[in-house]
């Protein structure tokens, strides 16, 4: 219990120490900004040139992941944070992939049932 009391006080000191945090050269921001524009333009071109099938989907996902990664890593400064924070924030959303798998199974099943009962005559 003695520990629990001592942990409150230092916060004040620690914070004033951090006023200088996250200083990075302006070049990296401009560079990433430019990259985001280029990647967005590419993902628009995917639609503009009417790509379809696996090529379309994989390009959409590729540009999406690259853009999301750049925003989180550089603009949100995740690249310079400690692992303790990075893992606490970035690992839990991975669980969404399990949810995606579950709902894929579920909607395939719903689709089959609907086709079975309402699909006649379509």
């Amino acid at each position: 219990m003695a520990h629990a009391e001592t942990q409150q006080a230092p916060v004040h000191h620690a914070q004033s120490h951090h006023a200088q945090g996250q200083q990075h050269p302006i070049g990296i921001y401009l560079w990433i900004w430019g990259l985001l524009f280029v990647l967005s333009f590419f993902s628009y071109l995917v639609d503009y040139f009417h790509l379809h099938g696996m090529l379309r989907w994989s390009l959409i996902l590729l540009f999406m992941i690259l853009k999301a990664g750049l925003i989180v890593a550089v603009f949100m400064h995740m690249a310079w944070e400690r692992l303790a924070l990075i893992y606490a924030i970035l690992v839990p959303p991975v669980l969404l992939l399990v949810f995606v798998a579950l709902m894929t199974l579920e909607s395939d099943y719903t689709f089959l049932i609907r086709e079975e009962f309402f699909g006649i005559g379509r």
Binding site: A9, P10, A14, H18, G21, S40, R82, L85, P93, S107
Partner: protein
């Protein structure tokens, strides 16, 4: 309580890799060492928001995969006539560029904030807010156009009725986030310009000393809004 305050004046260096992670989490103090509490709380809020948007996009996936009807082609639905020519998805592309521009100005605002450059920080934040407001304005235009064409949450002229409900739900919730961000940015820009963070003026609601860290925290929220748009753009508009 106060006698022990001496101990934590400097942040311990991070150990590498997993041992650093275990070390930070097991020190029986705060786990997020060189992150101010406000920023850590914003990250945790954003994590919860990730799950909300994740669930929205998942329900969109589920209804789109399970419907027997043809899903309306977003490339055609969101096309505009410009100069007698139909350009696919052009409005959404412009909205994407506007939002990315605002993310860039926000990143620079955070940088100048930590340099305590009051005027540049405030100007960049106001610019970010204006770009955000532009985005919301274009979204209002898009909604109006679709509603005039007969899109409703329960149906539309082109195919699967679920198109309308997922569209209004997802873009509406995202637009609300942008709007809140714009308001937040204007409030913070005013504080920056007034010099609140130079004199550590206490906040109206929180009574805590104002610091330039709040610019980064505001920035985290703003970049997250842009981040969500990246996923909406990919899954709803392009897929």
């Amino acid at each position: 309580m106060s006698h022990s305050a001496v101990a934590d004046t400097n942040v311990p260096h991070a150990h590498h890799g997993w041992s650093g992670l275990v070390h930070d989490w097991s020190t029986d103090q705060k786990a997020f060492k060189n992150v101010p509490w406000g920023k850590a709380m914003m990250w945790i809020f954003l994590l919860s928001d990730t799950f909300i948007f994740g669930c929205f996009l998942l329900s969109y996936m589920t209804v789109r995969m399970s419907t027997l009807d043809q899903w309306p082609n977003p490339s055609k639905v969101f096309a505009l006539h410009i100069g007698g020519q139909e350009i696919p998805l052009i409005l959404i592309a412009i909205m994407t560029f506007v939002l990315i521009s605002s993310s860039g100005t926000m990143a620079l605002a955070v940088k100048y904030g930590y340099q305590k450059d009051r005027v540049k920080t405030a100007i960049l934040m106001i610019l970010t807010a204006i770009l955000g407001a532009t985005f919301v304005g274009m979204q209002a235009f898009e909604w109006t156009k679709l509603i005039m064409e007969g899109v409703r949450p329960w149906g539309n002229p082109w195919g699967a009725p679920q198109f309308g409900s997922t569209f209004f739900m997802i873009t509406g919730f995202h637009g609300t986030h942008v709007t809140i961000g714009v308001i937040f940015l204007f409030i913070m820009a005013r504080k920056v310009l007034r010099g609140d963070f130079d004199v550590e003026r206490k906040g109206f609601f929180t009574s805590r000393k104002g610091r330039y860290e709040i610019v980064e925290t505001t920035g985290l929220y703003w970049h997250f809004v842009d981040l969500v748009w990246v996923f909406i753009f990919a899954f709803f508009y392009l897929w």
